[in-house]
Amino acid sequence: MDGDSSTTDTTQLGITGEYMTGGTYVLQTQDDDGDESFNDHEDGNGSKDHFREQDIYLPIANVARIMKNAIPQTGKIAKDAKECVQECVSEFISFITSEPLKLYLQKFREAMKGEKGITPVTVSEGLGEELTDDSFTFSVLKGLHNELMLCYFELTAGQLPAGLITADGQQQNVMVYTTSYQQIPGVQQIQFS
């Protein structure tokens, strides 16, 4: 992710300043231009063609609603806080759409293969050294295990073709999550029946 563009965006939020000594800063203007042009997301049409790739966010209304339901009833949320969480969300999605997710899915499917009694999967190996067993991502994935199982069963109830997770060879670095039986040359395939 390009950290610079996000930093630039936050300087446009124009709120009252916070002070600190040491550490990293972002300079902010005194003006409150109140113009958040990167944040209208209600429509899904071509008007967003001018957005850079790193500016893709989830709709702020949805994000704000989730936040509001999470904090105590009487709490309020600053507008710039909502916008920032919106950016954090995109960062989070990019963060887990890599090794952690791939490894989790692979292990999950292996567990699914042994039909009788789904055994819980452990993904601590895949989450990197900096994330401990208590890390949020890990507990989230663990917590989602049951829900995903149910969802998976519903998907396969109509005997859909089983999903493939393909791992690349050494030449190309392409990760494919697919539900088709495509034969991709030069790619090692793990098949589930």
Binding site: S6, G23, L27, E130
Partner: protein, 118 residues
């Protein structure tokens, strides 16, 4: 994906009460390098995890921050959470703490003054 399969997926996801648009989540996932196609399982898992992430971030920041006095979740609460909590470390780049320009220049001056005095 056929219409019938899509219907099944939608049924399943509706039952799970997802409040984030999966199509948008897929877009963001695709912006990652090395990802070409995304399985429905992966997409659902990510969307759900994202929801929980928002809840967790909001609540942690609110609790640790100025919620007691102002009852409002502010940007600085988020920035503090990113810095202090291990699980939110990956957000420190996009949640820097803010400083007014004149304060920064002032502290710069003071640093230069200290350097001169040495």
């Amino acid at each position: 994906m056929s219409a019938k399969n899509m219907e099944k997926v939608e049924q399943a996801t509706n039952r799970k009460n997802i409040s984030l648009p999966m199509s948008r989540v897929r877009l963001i996932m695709k912006s990652s390098p090395d990802v070409s196609c995304i399985n429905q399982d992966a997409l659902f898992l990510t969307t759900k995890a994202t929801e929980l992430f928002v809840q967790h971030l909001a609540l942690s920041s609110y609790k640790n921050g100025s919620g007691k006095e102002t009852n409002t979740l502010s940007y600085s609460d988020l920035a503090n959470a990113a810095e202090e909590s291990e699980t939110f470390q990956f957000l420190t780049d996009i949640l820097p703490k803010k400083i007014l320009a004149r304060e920064y220049l002032k502290s710069l001056e003071e640093m230069e003054k200290d350097a001169d005095n040495l």
